[in-house]
């Protein structure tokens, strides 16, 4: 599943760059993230409780950041599995200056498998997009309060 989009955040690019690489900020912004621990260089262990209505599951996984070109772009690779299935994906995140602050664009390729993909297929795309929106919305909010 391909996922593309962009969000505008009213903060300077350097600030946005730092926030997007700050595990504590990420933990607060990732929907359902209960734990995000550094495992080494740009690698994190995460526990996320993700769900919609009665369909809920706890996912354990790894997040890895690579190809960093500050303050322009980086790649985020995610791998996780839990009761309802597994998620694997890679996203290229790019930052650019706009008049009101910074535009964060993402282009991701996500694979979801297991139960949730088979049975929840009809809503998977929409829910994934909704979670991405939630994440970027929260990042904008956190950056706004910090500024």
């Amino acid at each position: 599943m391909k996922l593309e989009g962009s969000h505008d955040i009213s903060a300077p690019r350097q600030k946005v760059w730092e926030a997007f690489l700050d595990p504590e900020v990420l933990r607060q912004a990732l929907p359902g993230c209960e734990r995000l621990e550094a495992m080494g260089d740009d690698e994190y262990k995460a526990t996320m409780k993700i769900g919609v209505a009665a369909v809920k599951g706890t996912f354990d996984g790894k997040v890895k950041l690579s190809d960093k070109t500050p303050p322009e772009s980086y790649r985020m690779t995610v791998e996780g599995s839990g009761g309802p299935g597994f998620v694997r994906g890679s996203a290229l995140i790019s930052l650019s200056d706009i008049e009101s602050g910074t535009r964060v664009s993402y282009s991701a390729d996500v694979q979801v498998g297991g139960l949730i993909a088979g049975v929840g297929q009809r809503m998977l795309g929409g829910v994934t997009k909704m979670m991405a929106d939630k994440f970027f919305g929260k990042m904008g909010e956190l950056l706004h309060t910090a500024a």
Partner: protein, 291 residues
Amino acid sequence: MKPASFEYVRPGSLDEALDVLHERGDDAKVLAGGQSLVPMMNFRLARPAVLVDLNGLGDLAYIRPANGGLALGAMTRQRTIEKSAVVRERAPLLAEATPLIGHVPIRTRGTIGGSLVHADPAAEYPVVMVALDAEFTLARKGGTRRVAAADFFDTYLSTTIGPDEILTEIRMPSVAPRAAVAFVEISRRHGDFALVAAGTVVDVDGGGRIAEARIALGGVGPRPVRARTAERMLVGQRPTAALLAEAAASVMPDTDPPEDIHASAEYRREMSAVFTRRALTAALAKLGVQL
């Protein structure tokens, strides 16, 4: 396919059910007709610790005229609604949408309240409620509140109902006696969830101008969409094919459709215009207006 183990409670009264939810709401799930919840439990996607079965609450199943409109108990079966003469007379859009839900065995068990609280973005009833500005009564231990349909649906399978609340009644306001309705949808097979669904109410005054237009769409975003721009374009105008095409095209920016193996987002967006036009045309035809 067997569900994960759960505790089963079958309350004999609404108060008893609300007591259970008051204490264990976060771990509990309410069972109405079970046509979505039970398969989800059998697939183990949903694993509630407690299942609160409302099927013992016979007094939550009724259809009554109220203030020119209609009041329905949340446990009223869809099949009962489908066969009801008073529903056809007072809430024709509800009557027209009902046969499109699943299949007869599903409607025989499925309830109106269950469908609304489940809030599938492609389900028929949420579209009807948003089109008609229906109002819901939510009960919790020690009180009730009323919520407009527009404020009830939140996102995919999510509503603003609290974990300790039960939807008890649906109120449909009266519609102009002359108004005509149409509910149309496109799905891969009959009984499947709609790719796009459109419900409309149209009234034409004595001078041949559109006096009222209501348009709601399903399947095109996380919750039902009310096409206000299109409604405003229609009211006060004489219905023509060009006007309908223009109004129908205006719904597309209001949609945010998902993409899956059944249809692309572009296709769904395109169909939201096509089915708006078809629904309006069908409703106008019932008023004797041929375009």
